[in-house]
Symmetry: C3
Subunit: 320 residues, 3 copies
Amino acid sequence: MNPESISNDAQLDASGKLIHLLGLKGLPKKELEHILDVADDLLDGQGNLKKSKALDDMSVANLFFEPSTRTRNTFEIAAKRTSANTINVDLANSATKKNETLMDTMQTLKAMQIDMFVIRHKKNGLPHRIASNIDGVAIINAGDGINAHPTQALLDMMTIRQHKGSFEDLSVAIIGDIRHSRVAHSDIQALSTLGVKDIRLVAPQYLQYKGTLTEGISRLDNLQEGIDGVDVVMTLRLQKERMVAADIPNEQAYFKTYGITEEKLKLAQPEAIVMHPGPVNRGIELDSGVADGPQSVILQQVTNGIAIRMAVMVVLAGKA
Amino acid sequence: MNPESISNDAQLDASGKLIHLLGLKGLPKKELEHILDVADDLLDGQGNLKKSKALDDMSVANLFFEPSTRTRNTFEIAAKRTSANTINVDLANSATKKNETLMDTMQTLKAMQIDMFVIRHKKNGLPHRIASNIDGVAIINAGDGINAHPTQALLDMMTIRQHKGSFEDLSVAIIGDIRHSRVAHSDIQALSTLGVKDIRLVAPQYLQYKGTLTEGISRLDNLQEGIDGVDVVMTLRLQKERMVAADIPNEQAYFKTYGITEEKLKLAQPEAIVMHPGPVNRGIELDSGVADGPQSVILQQVTNGIAIRMAVMVVLAGKA
Amino acid sequence: MNPESISNDAQLDASGKLIHLLGLKGLPKKELEHILDVADDLLDGQGNLKKSKALDDMSVANLFFEPSTRTRNTFEIAAKRTSANTINVDLANSATKKNETLMDTMQTLKAMQIDMFVIRHKKNGLPHRIASNIDGVAIINAGDGINAHPTQALLDMMTIRQHKGSFEDLSVAIIGDIRHSRVAHSDIQALSTLGVKDIRLVAPQYLQYKGTLTEGISRLDNLQEGIDGVDVVMTLRLQKERMVAADIPNEQAYFKTYGITEEKLKLAQPEAIVMHPGPVNRGIELDSGVADGPQSVILQQVTNGIAIRMAVMVVLAGKA
């Protein structure tokens, strides 16, 4: 399914209350900022995560149809930190293999009185389809195909706000394989919603964003131009198989053209922050000097990722 | 081992107290009804599961020698809802592979002070053997070979009682591969114990029940006759490999002869309920109109499955 | 890395407080005995484990790069019994496979605010390297290569102390593949620290200890001589592949020469205890009469293993 044709309407009920988190397209600014506020409150003064009792009578299931240990771990940790019961459903060996339809599997898990499903799937729009078919369970999209990865974009926004305070006057560069990145797609939507007026999409032709450009968003293939004077440098993970398809001869060639070095980073604002969704390929997207340097906020993104996922669960549970 | 020669005597101590749940054969009616009563009390007025603190100082281990994600999940959810610590022991990669004897593995887990073992195994009578060899740990049979699956039968009885109130005057049809079904074997025992006087076992010759028939139980191979006027239609999951051995040419042929359609269901009582242990093969055991229809109680069975497993744990822990 | 060149200095901070548990070499006697004392207090009068709330605001991650279901389970059970959140990180499918460096994976897990890492790895010294590179996370070595397995040795000391009271006058035989056994290496260090003056290392030439002998430690290849008059018989697990390399023709030959039978056990003190880290190969290291006999403390070792791991976590958390 073409991401542009996927609607997130099901995530708001008739009164505008958030009942699922499917994607950031169409999510009102107020709702998005509410999640960021709740997440901020889950950090203490030292940037450490608090523990919450908000979900102590609830159950959260991780339904990862596509393997991703790290993202699954973050949701499991977040659920446990809100005191929810958690269950990891092994879908590789489960009933869906026994010919049961996906919706039967979902209805069965609901009948086990699981309150939230965290879903990752390689098909665009699959969490949306489940949300449309099942009542009474909150769906959290943990990444669907190349469509969306809303909690990643929310943690990125949380991190930017911690450093920059507000969004209106920022220039943001997103660099790398934007075309196939659900992270980038969700980040573009979040930045637009929050009022960023200069979003630069920097990628070689084949990996460039294919969606419709709205005001304030530009496509560039030159990195120097892309990061010139920006406040935020968002880098994306390069998948080797995509590199081949993009006719990039090797990793060194990618690094030479699109990798962020300390030298190139000088083109951005002196206070610019450098972000990456992890895991970093050192020497490909970033050199180690940048990854470990004073402008890198990569590990802070990880901590914020727990806070955001806790916040999303708390909000969907109606506890904030 | 022939299921008929397996004794459940070890599940009651000298004073008649339940100390393991191995099977329903020989389980006194009073004890069986007590479990149903405890399970009923774990549901609130809306049919939702309560949370219990009954096992908050206990540990439950899932020992699944045969993979079954769904059943394992239900036991894990049930244990967590009673506040027990839970542990899933990966027996595929564990010490039993390192030549350790099964009883050594069990003694070792007991020495880790795990209070209950939930055991699934492809061998008839294996949980019984463990119960006879190990003191001080409660064994719950989560399915052994074709012998027994007592928690499934208990949840079926709970569901029937919710709809029908009592058992004495009911007619019940069990349809499908009864021969190889531990679910059916346990259901037959439970229905008999609870006083059902008309239990019809409906199956083609090869898949028909091979056990001794006691009073009130009949074998039929004609579905129409089998469900005529019954109050409860219990369908069983068909395993493809068994279909082949039974000389059923294909799934359509099975469905034509033994599948439940809305049309055929009209032969049963108008208030008859339709049950299935899941996962359903739509268009084989049931058509979708029946599976999703007003007489289907399949998802209620799933919820009751959590309540029953919680109840069994609470009873074995001596907390009810 | 040669075990002899691995330092455990990182496990003590500048003030001598234990901040990691990397190995027993260099661990002061007072600190070692403190862990044993805390573990003793976690057992009630009947030898049953208590539950503790000590870590109820903490998270423990199991990072097992080398599979070991049993040891992983013991750490998971221990962490849950101290009320910690636990997470098993599946490192086979995780980011380290995606080219992320090990230290990035560790930093990321730390940024998820996990407080303790329980690490098993086939490389000698790997937990030490992580401890030296990461601040603010407590590292517990759950076995590194052939170097050390400190919690196993601590539970062995706890078990010996329960039976013998003190260490100074004991004779202890360690029998089997000492060369490749991290368990033996840690036991030798613990016994030395606690003042045992007669430690006999009994093994065929190829499997004999290759480290430097300090006072009170002797190498023998004759079992009869090795266990003559000892108070403690510690047996080790034989790995089949090592047996082949050691030119032992078959398991029977090993058993004949180094296996402990009731007959041979009569050479030891009448009150001698027999230990094994599990899982036992019956008929290879021990015959069943010994494994299940009155002098065997093997299952008590398992229970103590939970107590010791709880104690180590409680001490590292600064709660005792």
